[in-house]
Amino acid sequence: MYYPVNWPRVIRLPVLGSPVIHHVVCNRDKILVAVLSSDTLTILYNKPCVPVACLKRDAKSLEEHGENQEVEWKPDSSAIAVTTSKGYLSFYELSFVSDQQHLYEQRDSTIPGLRRESAELYIKDSVPAFTLKLSQTIPIDTGATGLVCIRDELMVATKYGHVLRYYWNGTLNRDYCLDLRRVPFCVDQLAARAVPITEPNTFITQIDYSPLLGGFAVVLNDGRGAFLTATTLKFDPNQVQGIWAPLDDVTCTAINHRYRLVAFGRRNTHTDVYTIDETTGGLQLSHTLQLSSKDFPGSPGPVQLLKWSPDAYMAGNWPLRFATLDAKCENLAVAGRTGFALYSFSTRRWKLFGNESQERDFVVAGGLLWLSTKVQPHVVMGCYNIGADRDEIRLYPRDNARLDNAFCTVQQVTGQILLLNLMGDTLLVYTSDCHISLFETETSGNGQLQLSRTQEIDVSTLGLHPACLVAATLTSLSHATEPQQPHGPSRQQNILLNVCGRVLLIQRNEGSDDSEEGSAYYSAPTVLASSVEILWVPNPDRLCPRKPHLTQALWLCCGAHGMRVWLPLYPREGDKGHHAFMSKRIMLPFQLHIYPLSVLFEEAILIGVETDTLLYPSSATSENPWLIPLCVLERNSQVYLHHIFRQLIRRNLGFHAWEIARGCTALPYFSHSLELLLHEVLEEEATSKEPIPDALLPSVLEFIQEFPVYLKTVVQCARKTEVALWPYLFGAGANPRQLFQRCLDSKQLDLAASYLIILQNMEPVSISRQYATVLLDAALENCSWDLAKELVRFLRAIDPSDADSATPSFSSSWKPGSAPSPAGSLLPAKISLGSQTPPVSPNPEDFNFLLGSTVHRPGSRAAGSMKSPSSDASTGIHREITRSMSETIPMSKNYSSPPTGKEPPPRKKSAPVNSHPITITADHDPPDPSLEELFMDLILQRHVRRLLSAGRLRDLGYLAAHFECPLVSWLSRERMRAARVDDFVSAIRRLHADFTWPFPVVSTLPVRKFSNRSISLEEKLQALEVDVSAAPAMTTPVSSDPPFQLRHNGEVSHPPVNGGLLLQTVEAQLKPHVPSQEEWSIQSEGDQISLAGEDRLNDLDSLQESSWGVHSITTEAASAASALCDPPLKANAQAELQLRYLLQLFTEADCLDWALVLALVLRDAMAVLRLVSMARSALTSCQPPNQAATIEIVTRLRDALLALSHWAETDCQGYRPFMNVIYGQVGILTKLILPHTNGPLSLLLEANSTSESASQGSGTKSRHTSVTLLTPLDRVTEEDMDIPVFKANGKVDKLNLPSEGAALQLTQQLEQSTKKEPVIQQPDEPPITQQGSGCIIS
């Protein structure tokens, strides 16, 4: 196959006469081209392409003989014949001037700067000089209509119906001239009666000749085409016979020699290609060439010229004749005009002959192959030895520094080598004397390769020209395919021949008794296929036992007939003999879209090329700058599995299809090929106008059902098919409801969503809504938020008025699983609630009504203070947070935004969001609320509550984000119900797990809960540290040379793939003994995070520094400070953002329980502080009826802190420093509760009992705790707490700031006050090492 590439080149011709070109013909060697215009003959040299001679006929000659018409070369290129319109034949002589004289020689300038630089500009191949002159002009009876050269004679067809034979000297070979009126014509040679042409004025308009076919293809002026043949190549007029082609609109003809084909171009744009039937001698249609309607729309008109692109062109004329890659595609061997060279892709170097004369002394012919031997790879080639004038096989080793004949193995052969092939160590050589020889390669003792001839087969009995054998290859394939042999691949050496497109298998049979070499004989050849261009045999070394069918197949490319595969069929185990009627191999045809270059047997894929044409401007100056086509070649691949499946299923060989498919399930395109199979059968059968007696679709569905991708395949096929075909598809055995249910059962929710579309189209609306609801539930359960969101849209999109209609109404544009489309884009305007429903204005009464339960309303909040921001507003706030964090604004500024009575901070333009939030509160009053709508809301509400109750805050966050729930208002109502935290410890644990948020690390205390193994690991790491010591400066006073600090995060970055050491276990323990901030860890996936957020985090640090910057600090406080700094550095920034976002939400909603948990997890002491002051202000501002509830809240908060401190002491030492820092808040809270409590004793007792039981449980209760407990609640003094924060709070307390909204001022004052105030040492505290605070934080 030949494809044009790049642009056409426009050749420059000397400007002499008429520019109208009539005929272009190259000579037999394809070195010279004759270009004939009406009055000028130009001879071009091919490489380089330059004109070498040009003659224009004078006016007198033109007038006398007429314009030029056709041109023909003499085979030896020494003469040219030209026919003219007035019936003359002119002969021109072309001759080399001499070997010395050249054309276009270039003489460099004397100025050095103007000389040629690059070596390639000094052309090696010079252009020889020619002389062209007219030798004679002779008249022909009534004018020539066709011209063809046979050997040394010219055949000239004339208007009288004659074919005249001229010698090149101009004399007529009168005895061998033909007269059409005397040639018998018939449809084939067996016909009893052959009739000459009797119609007058019938003559040949075009004639082509092939010695390999032994005849002429002729086109008659009446549109008929025929083939003229004779018993001998002499073409005795009495023996010549005409065979009609069954056509009457022939315009032109061309003969393919090698494949023995006659092609006739026709008026209808088609070209019919014929072979000659061997038995009848008639013309038999082989195939038809058609221009694709895609590239050539309309009617391009009659075929005007046909040319076969000759195989032998590249091989004969181009400098590059052969190229071959080795098996690993790392080395290339190329053969040019003479010699060959090697190229290595890995080193990008050429390997050439050391001695150039050796290279020039032989021409590679027949083939170039890589042979891998035990010692080293060799290059095998057939070659013609110019010096010795003989044909040889040569083998050169690859690995020598240079190519050298001294290391080459030479085997002389008897004839010109035409084909060369290899299988294993056996070399097949086909020579021009029609002999196929087999050689074995062996490595002799000295490492040299040796060839020994083992077999010789004479194929001259096939009775054809030697050139008609296009391919010969050795193969292990045979007719009877044995089941998989356990002892490895079969080494049977059969021979496959491609003779003129017909593939013959010559099977080698071993003698039955003795195993002598000579006992093998070859059976008579059997024809496997015809019209074959290329064949691929399996590599016997690469037979895959899992895919025996595919790897033992023979692949045939049959040109216009597409592809064929000769597939083995293995008998089923246990039922031998039952399938005796079945042939052991089967030939399956299928069509191709690409031209195949290679078959990947195991991968079940074809690699090929396609051509494409782009229009490019040639240049600005050309007249039609946009009409120059650029032809490009594109490599492509094609999956063929489905063709094989289909063919086998059609033949009731589904078991074999299944066997093949079973081996291919791992292929990435396996499910795609099943889809293709289903799609093709469906399209074909569903659109068939006639009833199909035995439809294939049920069997195909049955077949696909055998594979786990069945559900996906069916729905994807359906989605790519017209809706009109769905009933046919699902009527053939697949019930969409069942399929939907199966998807649901197997948790393939996206697939289920795809089936929903089908249900929507095929079932009543009520049914599809029901299924959608079920799926929505499942999607929520599985945290498939995008899907759930789409489903809600889907459900909302159902027009209530359609609910009872049985007509499917769904537009199939919806694609679940794809990226979320812009908000509301799928909703028809009339049902889009967004525009009609105002954003939530919470009305607790509605809420109660809806939920049907008594709501314990959180008391004292004035309606105004509870006013929840709309979803838009809340996104604004959150956006602000995100921005503020990245802009390193102290967070407290935003977090302290006053919740009561004040306007939210000015919003920046918020992101485009879905304008209609899901109304999980359902407290709006929709204009026309349908039950389904409410039901859907109930589903969502139920789920949100379930998530909250279970403490799944991350999922809650995702759900709220996807449905744009106004979480704050909802949460504030739920704070005494679902938003209550009953078990704070497990809540914290849950957060750590859900957000993969690392637990804080203990630096100073021995770790208890680690396994022995981990500890040993830790020790190892510490041992390692010795090697890795010394590094960047850190300001710890203890070690002047702190070790290299590795980053650590909770997510293990490289988990071991198969067992081994679990790195996860290392994470929390990687603290060296040294009491400093050094930290060991295994590195980090979080690099980019820290890079992105470094500045921000630094600022956070400084913020904390300033807040906590006291002049002296205890050791514990120091580690607390480090604990404060640590988490943002280490952790996943995304998780931190999410946690902070939630903290903000819960704080706004007054859900202090969760807010506390979040603040703890974030180790955000300021947030805890704010929560406490919020509690305080709630208590001071609340109305008496609600006081009890508020007090309960405060109490819970305090108890939570107590419980968590206890937990930190006993179970999670990492939290201890932080808990110590915030511990003072317990006192404040206690103090808050007391004045309002009617029975302080009971409360005290309660608190006491709780904490006492806790302290009893562990026995390691921190001193702070006990201090607090023992201090009378009404006598809490500043001095009781030595922690700066607490002192700060004490100060604040004195300042008497009532509003929680004033947290910002509070912080500032706190900073000032703590900085000014010296720490007062608590007398009953144990002595504590004091350290400068600066060294810890800076």
Binding site: C49, I111, S118, D1027
Partner: protein, 393 residues
């Protein structure tokens, strides 16, 4: 013995900003009889097992500067970013050049016991930052990247395993603007995860696709003192690795006969003026200022054509255009036109004879172009490079 194999998943070529994944396999290998028995074998209750003390991995960039071409000042070495200079595995260990970048070492294993005939596999992953120079083997400066795996068997010395990798950069493309916009749009942190993890990588690939697929035909009218030689049309001036540079040449209405031409794809390694080494205090000769390397060539004897075209492949193994403060790599098309001193005669009355000898002069022209990288997987295939390395301990 322990055999350690490191295999770069997905090939040895990466973009900056890419995540490198390397599969490191430790396997127990039986000592062959020939090898000496000097290794300590831990025997645990009769069973053979090997113990690997530790293994750690990091990616380093080594810069080798040719002191004859580049002025190596103290500031250069001081400004280097090699701050992690004192781990047990100094990234400099065994390197001649300057380590200008290294990732923090990650510990792969500690105290790994390998029982008889077992192996264990680890995945090392590291993200390469975006502000690095590309892999480049120039005359003045070489930047090379490798993954270094340090290994120590109990009782033996530290061994290093090197896996070379190739880094491509996409600097100067102005790509990050659209990315930033996205950041702003998404405000809810629970929605942010929808952005694909690879977006940073996809974007430049997409942008490069856009940059290099856009056609903006430029027509160059090539003339010498006697008049027009050719109209050359190139359809763009930015090309990706592996792409073909195609253009058309039109000799149609030229005054000057062009006998032949050649086009060479050349790279120019340019050291900035102030960094250039001056031999004996004097600036080196004019021609030595940049190092020229020629790659693919297209040559045509074009006197017989009125219109023709050129096609020049950009090899996959070359380094795309880049610029650092030490060196810049520029690309150009170097044209040589061989023209006839006096225009050839194409006219005649009844016969025409081709010229036998023509006086010619050769002139050159350079056209700067930009070479962009392409998908790393594509480059990997063409490199035939080892993405695997192993060592026996």
């Amino acid at each position: 013995m322990i055999e350690v194999t490191a295999n770069l998943i997905g090939g040895p070529v990466y973009f900056t900003g890419d995540k490198i994944s390397c599969r490191v396999t430790f396997s127990y290998v039986h000592q062959t009889s020939k090898s000496h028995n000097s290794y300590v074998q831990t025997k645990d209750s009769g069973e053979c097992s090997e113990v690997l003390g530790w293994a750690s991995a990091q990616v380093v960039c080594i810069c080798s500067i040719n002191p004859q071409k580049v002025l190596v000042s103290d500031s250069v070495s001081n400004s280097s970013r090699a701050t992690f200079n004192s781990t047990s595995l100094s990234p400099r260990a065994g390197e001649r050049g300057l380590v200008i970048f290294s990732t923090k070492p990650k510990i792969l294993v500690c105290d790994l016991k390998l029982p008889d005939d077992s192996c264990s596999e680890y995945i090392y992953e590291e993200t390469i930052p975006s502000n690095l120079p590309p892999s480049f083997r120039g005359q003045a400066i070489k930047y090379s990247y490798k993954l270094k795996i340090g290994l120590q068997r109990v009782g033996a010395s530290v061994k290093l395993l090197h896996v070379p990798l190739r880094l491509m950069t996409w600097q100067n493309l102005g790509l990050h603007s659209c990315h930033d916009e996205q950041e702003i749009v998404v405000s809810n942190p629970f929605l942010k995860t929808n952005i694909s993890m690879n977006s940073e990588l996809d974007d430049p690939l997409e942008s490069m696709q856009l940059l290099t697929s856009r056609r903006s035909p430029s027509i160059y009218k090539v003339t010498n003192s006697k008049g027009k030689v050719v109209s050359l049309c190139l359809f763009k001036n930015g090309y990706r690795l592996g792409e073909d540079i195609v253009g058309t040449l039109d000799f149609g209405d030229s005054k000057v006969s062009c006998m032949q031409y050649s086009v060479t794809l050349q790279s120019q390694e340019v050291v900035p003026e102030e960094k250039r080494c001056r031999i004996g205090g004097q600036q080196s000769k004019l021609g030595d200022e940049s190092v020229l390397t020629s790659y693919s060539k297209h040559h045509e004897f074009c006197i017989g054509f009125l219109q023709t075209h050129l096609s020049l492949p950009v090899p996959l193994h070359v380094t795309p255009s880049f610029d650092t403060d030490m060196v810049a790599l520029k690309w150009r098309l170097h044209f040589e036109f061989v023209t006839a001193v006096s225009a050839l005669n194409w006219n005649g009355e009844t016969a025409w004879e081709p010229p036998k000898v023509t006086d010619i002069e050769t002139m050159v022209w350079d056209l700067p172009i930009v070479i962009y990288p392409t998908a790393p997987a594509h480059v990997s295939k063409a490199l035939y490079g080892a993405c695997e390395a192993n060592i026996l301990l």
